[in-house]
């Protein structure tokens, strides 16, 4: 007998024994997103405010980074009073996103999920970003900061007929929720959201958009637009350039999620489209000092049931 006979005979091993090994060979480790789905199911979306730079019409920013409000408001952190509202009696996840939102949808909205998380933006930990979502009559702004997610809910907000979101929606906020996905800090109804926004405005110094571009350019360079673009009084993106208008529409229809617009005054606005949600938001990026990070962490100390 030579080895060929042996090799051929080994090829005739009964199938059930071969199949056992095949199962072993095809076993895979759980992929990251499966673990992430479990994490995402527990967490909550959050808030932050969006700041838009206005155009040469010199409209003052809604929240100025130079507001003199000094650090955290003692009223905020001391009054952990619960808000009794029908909205929040529901399962938190249900009203953080629309009911059909999947965990992957959540990931699309949040820039940074966890250390092992999968996100489409991969924002560094010292930055946070946000998106705006309309839930019924309430605008919800969701901010991700480090591994926490904050939801700000604003009533009395209406998108216009073109589904553009006014930049000044923040001033109409009535109440506030902060949550880390498992617990909620519900702020007293009459708490002025502007206090919170003032805190946020002092939490960081707005860097130039060049830093943003350096981060995003390689990924989004095909989406950059430049030319005659401005914001109207409500912060809607306007252009007299039909090419830009059609490109914006085209990008949006292609499902592009992030478009960076170069304004005339060299201010860059990053517009994020979420076609499934029919909303648009503008991202602002803040760098936080260690002191400011501590201030933000203070807000979460009161999350306790």
């Amino acid at each position: 007998m030579n080895q060929d006979y042996l090799v051929d005979a080994l090829g005739a091993i009964d199938e059930d024994m071969v199949q056992q090994v095949e199962i072993l060979r095809n076993k895979r480790k759980p992929v990251m997103w499966q673990n992430w789905v479990t994490v995402a199911a527990c967490f909550v979306m959050l808030v932050t405010s969006a700041f838009l730079a206005y155009n040469s019409r010199n409209k003052p920013p809604i929240i100025s980074p130079t507001d003199p409000t000094p650090g955290p408001q003692t009223g905020l952190v001391a009054n952990g009073v619960y808000v009794n509202h029908a909205y929040y009696s529901q399962n938190f996840l249900d009203y953080c996103l629309s009911k059909e939102a999947s965990a992957i949808d959540v990931g699309e909205f949040i820039g940074y999920v966890s250390e092992d998380g999968i996100t489409d933006t991969k924002i560094p930990a010292y930055r946070y970003n946000f998106y705006i979502e309309e839930i019924a009559d309430t605008a919800r702004i969701i901010v991700c900061y480090e591994d926490r997610y904050y939801v700000y809910s604003f009533s009395d907000y209406r998108p216009d007929g073109n589904e553009n979101w006014p930049a000044n929606l923040l001033v109409n906020a009535e109440y506030l929720i902060i949550s880390d996905g498992n617990r909620e800090l519900k702020i007293k109804e009459e708490q002025q959201v502007s206090d919170i926004l003032a805190i946020l405005s002092n939490l960081g110094e707005k860097k130039t958009w060049n830093d943003v571009l350096a981060h995003d350019y390689e990924v989004f360079k095909d989406d950059f637009l430049s030319g005659s673009i401005w914001l109207d009084d409500e912060g809607n993106l306007c252009t007299g350039d039909s090419f830009i208008a059609s490109k914006l529409t085209k990008l949006r229809n292609e499902g592009k999620r992030r478009i960076t617009v170069v304004m005339n005054d060299n201010t860059y606005l990053v517009y994020v489209f979420y076609p499934a949600r029919k909303c648009i938001s503008s991202d602002a990026f803040y760098f936080l000092t260690s002191e400011q990070i501590e201030i933000l962490k203070e807000l979460t100390k009161w999350i306790d049931f």
Partner: protein, 186 residues
């Protein structure tokens, strides 16, 4: 698509059967073939020949697990190609490496003293494997049926490479003794 549905397509002589087979098993078949041939072009040819062999063998055959059925075909085709192309067994494929291990069981004879019916030998090997503990059997099959690298076999069998290596050695010795007891002259 489930295997049963694909096999039905073969029986219906629907050419989509090959497309579906390719979609589901192309990578799997290429891996087996590559373990033998270590050449992408030869692998591609063997895999294509496998699809042809599958088309020609179904109907008449109706395998319940298509992957094993196809795996067997591509394995044999790849070995045949290897034998045709390489008279010498010194070749850098996992199949060639595993061949280096087999003389412990059956010393290679350029002119065999006896010819055994392949079927008898296969039956004996099957009986032998069934007697083995599952772990040993899986390692043996992973190495000498799929020609997977030892490191890979160790990994999916959940053991260290060293353990897999020594386990294989002992199994080869046991197989040799078993074949001699069965009356095979080695």
């Amino acid at each position: 698509m489930e295997d049963k549905q694909i096999v039905d397509l073969y029986w219906q002589r629907n050419e989509d059967a090959i497309h579906q087979t390719q979609k589901k098993y192309d990578g799997y078949l290429r891996k087996i073939s590559y373990n033998v041939l270590a050449d992408l072009e030869d692998c591609a040819e063997c895999v294509n020949d496998t699809y042809l062999a599958a088309w020609n063998s179904m109907p008449t055959n109706r395998p319940s697990v298509l992957s094993t059925y196809l795996g067997k075909i591509v394995r044999q085709l790849s070995i045949d190609v290897f034998r045709k192309k390489h008279a010498l067994k010194r070749f850098s494929s996992e199949y060639a490496v595993s061949l280096d291990e087999l003389p412990e069981i059956i010393p290679d004879q350029t002119t065999p003293e006896e010819v055994f019916a392949g079927k008898t030998l296969a039956e004996s090997i099957n009986r032998f494997l069934r007697r083995l503990p599952e772990e040993e059997r899986n390692v043996f099959i992973g190495r000498y049926y799929y020609f997977d690298p030892l490191k890979k076999v160790a990994k999916y069998c959940g053991m260290s490479e060293g353990k897999a290596k020594s386990m294989l050695y002992r199994t080869r010795q046991k197989l040799k003794e078993y074949l001699m007891e069965e009356g095979f002259a080695l």
